[in-house]
Symmetry: C2
Subunit: 306 residues, 2 copies
């Protein structure tokens, strides 16, 4: 409840929206300053006794060093959350707080599923036809081996299939040429691995100009290029807003629409939201966590990896 | 005269514009089908005898294999052009034709200046305040060593200083975090080299969201990420046009505005235009070549490298 630029107000509003659209209060464990949360819930017409409230009064700010902050702020909402997740007291953890701290927690206290080379995080890429592409890695793994990319393709495919409901997602390799054999050493080596990877539908190379087109559902690359792509897409949205351009497609570059993205490959559902998350985003993140549990995405990943 | 989707008509129109704005016909050697060119020049009110016309009737198409095409089509405008350039019969070569063939010619028949690790090509990045950033490498060098990036920074700086008239260009390293020490192994290793590089003004890391902002004038990265960035920028322009969005800033994502980009680090001025180059683009490329010669950019590069 303390994560993100507009927390805890927007988090509480998101919970109110979640409940008003059929969500169940008893599913939620709210981590934050309990006294503050109680009055805030009441102010929004919600009964605090319907929720489990866990006292976690410290806040990790956006610019704090993730590892240091997690170690020192033991009663921060993120640290308490990972403690509860590791102890099996909660089934999923959602936060719009310090992304680095969420990742450190995910990799250190929860750990990767057996057989996972590197956990990864993706980014949604909106298309004009209303669909969403999913680009991964979006920034955790700046240096990758070719086999990491093949596994990202599988993780992305399973997430899209089981959680987002895309049947037979098309996988593209982000590259700087269309033909096989093009690209840097990593892309050249990843191509045949993607051809051999079971459980995915590999359609070949995808260029930068294809990212926003409906060519591939899952786009794989190392996290350096992926992060640069994500940040450009975000900056395009900023520019469009600043220039007062009204356009339904560019509106969809706003993260608020999607909520958050899961850390894929770790042993529990962990959802990371954007710092600017508002109520819709918090509601969507709760639903995403529910769906990941309901569809047993982690079980599906474990089966596919071994 | 045979390069680009709208050649030779747009090339001739570009020459007409160049002349009407003070350009000199005797500076131009036109490579193409001479009989065709003569009648086309006349049709545009230009006297063919004012130009040197070189017979080069073959055309290398956009999808031909560059090395093979250059070898087999010896009377193509590109092959004849590189022959003349190597023989010192012309001082600069301009084409909007097959980019691969232009690059192969630049690297094979003209060669790099002494001390140049890798010749490079950049891409303009328009900013809302009307300025232009210059991102390099934009796709020739998919795999780079850290010292290549430091040299790209110097080449970009010299081009902006002497040809585009930017005083003390700020150099940014494209990265996935602001602080020193962030990034992939390449960016981590390039950072101290950029700090030590003479002749540049290094301002530190630049993230994807900063590329379109006026933070750095020269942005360096390897050619994989650079090419993906360039192709996304081009695709944004396509989307804006397709969606009928009228905006003076996004209009500037159209390559037509700039003409072409030089191959930097080779021993002669070589300008590569976009396939969709129109008359304005051809005119601008002629002027760019003139300016590179007039300002002795290659002499400046040679002095700075040794």
């Amino acid at each position: 409840m303390l994560g993100g630029d507009y927390a805890p107000q927007e988090a509480v509003k998101g919970i109110a929206r979640y409940l008003s659209e059929g969500g169940q209060a008893q599913r939620l464990v709210l981590l934050g300053h309990t006294a503050e949360l109680s009055s805030l819930l009441e102010a929004h017409g919600l009964d605090p006794t319907h929720f489990a409230l866990e006292h976690a009064p410290e806040r990790i700010d956006m610019h704090e060093h993730p590892t240091k902050a997690l170690k020192e702020k033991k009663t921060s909402s993120i640290a308490v959350g990972f403690g509860q997740l590791a102890a099996g007291q909660i089934d999923a953890l959602i936060s719009a707080g310090n992304t680095g701290a969420m990742l450190v927690g995910a990799l250190m206290s929860i750990k990767a599923l057996p057989g996972i080379h590197r956990p990864t995080i993706g980014a949604y890429m909106p298309r004009e036809n209303g669909k969403l592409g999913f680009l991964l890695d979006a920034g955790i793994n700046a240096d990758c081996k070719p086999e990491f990319l093949a596994q990202f393709a599988l993780l992305g495919t399973l997430f899209l299939q089981h959680v987002l409901g895309v049947s037979a997602p098309r996988v593209g390799l982000l590259n700087i040429g269309e033909e096989e054999g093009k690209g840097n050493l990593l892309a050249q080596a990843a191509y045949p691995l993607l051809q051999q990877q079971a459980g995915i539908h590999f359609i070949g190379n995808i260029e930068g100009r294809d990212i926003l087109l409906d060519k591939a559902d899952v786009i794989v690359c190392e996290g350096f290029t992926g992060n640069v792509v994500l940040k450009i897409a975000e900056s395009i949205h900023d520019i469009v807003v600043r220039r007062n351009i009204q356009d339904s497609y560019f509106d969809r570059f706003h993260f608020e629409t999607y909520g958050g993205v899961p850390v894929l490959g770790v042993s529990k559902p962990i959802i990371i939201g954007h710092g600017i998350s508002g109520s819709q985003s918090f509601m969507n993140m709760i639903r995403l966590a529910e769906k990941m549990i309901e569809k047993d995405l982690l079980g599906k990943i474990s089966e596919a990896i071994v």
